[in-house]
Subunit: 276 residues, 2 copies
């Protein structure tokens, strides 16, 4: 999916919501536990209940790998189900991969060729040749970690570069623009650091930002939109647990539907403020 198509979807749905399919087997409602593939069955019902309110789904690979080969099957089945039934959805494999060049190329093969997801999250630490292999498939995206939403973000991401005075995450934003462009790269910027979006938008005015941390982690959607939205929206705001585990009971899909709708309604207003 290209940038213009994603923007059109955002306008059509009045939403820039990404739903994180962090489908922890230990939190899935009991009523699903006896199905042949509980994680996939949970995802299918969540997707059907919420797809009208979001433009992207983001399965985090940890929740699938923790179930071994069966978990991988659930992941593949989820991607296949989305591709067949909701081809307009932007699918993000939240994998935070990154390795030496030839090895990153294999991860790219796994996610873009075997599975046809739209984007993979990638960790920047190993530099250019660990990222570039993810940028060679037309219509596919790298979402590079820049400023993450977790407490440990302060350990290294705010180290100041003695030759430029920039924070490490700013150097990553700048340098990586030599590797890709606003049509094949996005950045992870945590909502828990919304005020930093002003400076980030000076460095990457056009790129889409994937923003986790709204909701369970405490970030504010209004602030994210205020500081981060650009003329093509430029935001995918992720919510995971708040939506998919809105209820631990049989009514989980119905509650997820209501929660996603409520976020979409708020996003609709925020888009209106920016006249989008």
């Amino acid at each position: 999916m290209n940038r213009e198509q994603l923007f059109q979807e955002i306008k059509r749905k009045r939403s820039f919501l990404c739903i994180g399919l962090d489908s922890d087997i230990q939190k899935i409602p009991v009523c699903l536990k006896s199905s042949a593939d509980p994680i996939f069955e949970f995802n299918r019902q969540i997707i059907d209940a919420t797809a009208e309110f979001c433009v992207a789904f983001k399965p985090n690979l940890a929740f699938y790998e923790s179930q071994g080969a069966a978990g991988w099957m659930a992941f593949e089945n989820t991607v296949g189900y989305l591709r067949r039934n909701y081809p307009e959805q932007f699918i993000i494999a939240d994998a935070k991969r990154g390795d030496i060049g030839n090895t990153s190329g294999l991860y790219a093969r796994a996610f873009f060729e075997n599975l046809d997801v739209d984007a993979v999250t990638v960790a920047p630490y190993m530099g250019e040749d660990s990222v570039r292999p993810f940028l060679t498939n037309p219509g596919k995206w790298v979402i590079l970690l820049a400023l993450t939403s977790n407490p440990g973000a302060t350990d290294f991401q705010f180290i100041r570069n003695d030759s430029t005075g920039e924070f490490l995450y700013e150097t990553i934003l700048k340098k990586s623009q030599n590797w890709g462009n606003a049509g094949n790269m996005m950045y992870v910027v945590g909502a828990t650091k919304a005020e930093k979006l002003v400076g980030i938008r000076e460095i990457v005015p056009e790129h889409f930002l994937l923003v986790p941390g709204v909701g369970a982690q405490g970030g504010s959607l209004g602030e994210v939109a205020r500081y981060g939205m650009n003329s093509q929206c430029g935001l995918l705001v992720n919510s995971s647990r708040n939506i998919i585990f809105a209820s631990p009971e049989d009514n989980f899909a119905e509650k997820a539907h209501l929660e996603a709708k409520s976020i979409r309604d708020e996003m609709d207003k925020l888009l209106e403020i920016k006249q989008l």
Copy 2:
């Protein structure tokens, strides 16, 4: 496996060799392609042919994930085969994972509880809470990326911290010592930067270092031992392609045996120089 046991294995085998099971399906000898699980069958024959010369095996997950759920089965079968037949081998899942705390915990569950590997490679960018969940299982190890062997290592790892004057990888070495110790943490240090081992040993004199980049990537084993070996050896030197793809023909296992033996013989001499 604890540090003392690993050191005893190194002395017993006269080897600190780690064999990287980067078992690319596209490079596996044709004669194996018709077997039910070609990657596992390849690994099994490589393991049987080389285990006497090495103390560790390191499957890189990219090569398994690129084959989807079937690849995960091959990975699980490989770990199971090692555990049953070579319990003295140190198994490293080269996964370069790292995510927010609760999610890293699920990766730890995948590798340490479901699969019983000894160590996982972890990327440092997201900081403390992304690493700590891998440190809670007794006898299990984090191998944190510090200075990698690839060209992109120079993009960010050598950024100088304006408040301490340290390189980023040095800050990572120092800070991470608050999270773990020489009994549950190792560091990745590329052999292509062997001269940096002097400074690294000043920061982490006791920790084991996992050293990729000898062989195909151009690093020198002699230099690595000279600058990096400590009183408990403190080194696991990895070789992948040079050994496992020593021959593309039916005699691949035999050639891998000879290549691993030749490295072991060199390591024996290097251990002798240090009177180990």
